[in-house]
Amino acid sequence: MMRGYAGKFLEIDLSSRNVKDTKFSDEVLRDYIGGRGLATKVLWDRLGRKWETVDPLGPENILLVLTGPFTGYFPGTKVCVSGKSPQSNGVIGSTVAGEFGVDLKCGGYDGLIITGKAEKPCYIFTCDSQVEIKDASPIWGKKARETLRFLVRKSIEEIKDVRPSYGEVKEPSVLYIGPAGENKTRVAAVVAKYAHGAGYGGYGGVMGAKNLKAIVAKGFGPVPDVYDKEKVIDLAQRFSEWNFEMERFRRWGTGGGGYFFGAETSSEPVRNWQNEWHDKESYKKEEFDKYWVKKNWGDFGCPTTCLKLAVLKTGRFRGAICDNPDYELEAYLGTNLGIFTPEENIYLSYVSNELGLCGIQGGAVLGFAAELYEKGILTKKDLDGIEPKWANVEAFTALAEKVAFREGIGDILAEGVYRAALKLGKIKGADLLKYAVHEKGVAIGAHGVRSGEDFIAKNIAYACSVQGGDHTSAASLPLDQGGELSSIMADSAVLCIFAAFGIEDNEKINFYEGLTGWKLTRKEWYKEKAPRILHLQRAMLLLGGPDAKWRPKLDDDNPLRFWEPLPSGPYKGKTLDRKKFDESRLEYFAAAGWNENGVPKPETLRKLGLEDVEAKLKDVALIK
């Protein structure tokens, strides 16, 4: 009997409305675990052969929402959303916090595999083994708050119908999209609660393309049994106690970053990355603290509760609610737009959340438009009368609405910074790519590499990542020390990296063995299993298509802006060293088993049992 897993996945074809259970063999689960790893495997098996022809926003794409064996047991809970990404055209494992994964597993499912496209707007409702595809017309076009309110109320009533004498029914978990997802923008998140988002990858748009507004899950069962309960509970308690002592992180979350990464490390996006330094006292964590109505907010099992609940109770932005904002949103919906006051940042985060935009991708495209406006490349007329001057909250709000609803200029900006730069460049007859700070179609996380001082991102962090600009999957060397192969572990297990700071790989592996009863060594993970997932992701990233394709090595480079020297601050004049970067990249390629052009070597693929990948890369002449 399988331990740590519910043992089956729910497969729903929205075109035919067919619903069935899908199982994976022990071998597949042992190799790919769950979450990002398993999503990659499913996508390769089902779409790999025709990958370059699959439109991420077409009915052929597959949306995966997967838990892992860690879900429900490891302190803090996430679920992993994946599919062919409309940003990178490869595979991105995008995680989001909340109780959704727990509800799924308690309902008897390890995940959802969603194919096809519904004829009309719909949402999926699951309660234990009961699965229904329901009409979403009352909430199609609605923003976050209204969507969630409708779904929670209606679902509770429906559960009460099934369990009439149960007593009070607790709300189910909901993943949903806002207008940005419905309108198939490439900058839309899959959202939980108000502001928990699986943003990287752009899977909100994938849901929209499937006419899928939301997924509601309720599980009445226990979390699936594990192999060695005593060991698992004991380890979980030890991990929790470790987290209880992370006092600074518990107190401030990532919300201290809005000042720190600007003032101390010069690695925060400021005005569309024209700078990475600022020292605005108004953006210190204590200034954000004034708006936190809950200083500790978290999700199922979390010992850290690093989130904070920010509410604007008075003033012209009264009514705005959002979590923290966390550092990424402080940066992308703050400093990157020239905003240095918490109140305005909280408000814009709220606007972005309500629209279902990814705070990073959406914020990046707003900053991109603002710089083009500043430079006179985009005019007031081009922008439908909007004048996005730095720090103009009203203008950014109006522009965000345009993006989410794909109206006017928003239709182009909704494509994200990379594609918008190409489209606008064509219209304006200019090369605008230097204003698009992205890696393989994914706007870069709010951690710059120019100063060299950021502790997340170094020179090849994004350039060599199989998830492009995703700062939670940054590439680094040596391969087996906290780089992308570790991210693959976190996203496949599926665990929250914020509740796993300082917990050694061996302890996580020990936990995994306790959950599943399956043996795993560190060496097996770093030499075999994780590289296999990495190579599948790399292969699909290089196959790309149909609308974007990345050239190995040439496109394995930093955004153009990162080669410009920092204009001011303690690291003024500093930028990346081209020679050192080239060396690091070559070193990374070699360590990963890729040739000097970044293409996986046939012998590496064979060693990992990926002969079919070799054949496919030969077909498209990537392997000569």
Partner: protein, 179 residues
């Protein structure tokens, strides 16, 4: 029903502090069911709107209307600590105790055909321990006092959500969120 309240205990809840971590549900279900089982937990966190998390568990009314209402005598008072004990073998799942409770606290076990209610873990509630060790201080163990009417605190999750939402979001915003 009169009882001597000496040595009896009560779980005080500071709703506005609840982080929503649900570690109380984990601790409770591990203790009572031997596994992590949120729906079988005797304390349940209701999150009818995100940010307003309501730990919902027995309020220990001074007149124990649930015990009075049970036609099968499945519910009894543990007068030593002031908690309800349930004899699951006698419970017929008629639901009368839920109706009798002004907070609608009792609920059916998700798989068995019987009611579950907090029994205060025989004096050492695991939920309180879980909440305290993380220093959230949402749940606090205090002596049960003669002069306090706990029944007046017993409210349904929806009512508590409205009250707490107004408190932490402000009246106007709460109204907008609750719709």
């Amino acid at each position: 029903m009169k009882t001597n309240r000496n040595n009896q205990i009560w779980i005080k809840r500071n709703y506005e502090n609840c982080s929503g971590c649900r570690r109380c549900e984990i601790a409770c279900s591990l203790h009572h069911e031997g596994r992590i089982w949120p729906e079988a937990s005797r304390i349940r966190i209701f999150m009818l709107i995100p940010g307003v998390e309501i730990p919902h568990l027995c309020f220990q009314c001074e007149d124990y209307p649930c015990v009075e209402a049970c036609p099968a005598r499945a519910l009894s008072l543990n007068s030593k600590i002031g908690a309800i004990n349930i004899d699951a073998s006698k419970c017929t799942a008629c639901g009368l105790c839920i109706e009798a409770c002004s907070g609608n606290v009792p609920h059916l076990h998700p798989e068995g055909n019987y009611i579950v209610i907090c029994d205060l873990c025989n004096g050492k509630p695991k939920c309180v321990k879980a909440c305290q060790e993380g220093r959230w201080n949402t749940l606090m163990l205090i002596p049960r006092k003669k002069e306090v009417s706990y029944k007046t605190l017993a409210k349904k999750p929806q009512e508590l959500t409205h009250e707490v939402a107004e408190q932490i979001l402000g009246e106007e915003t709460a109204k907008e969120v609750l719709g």
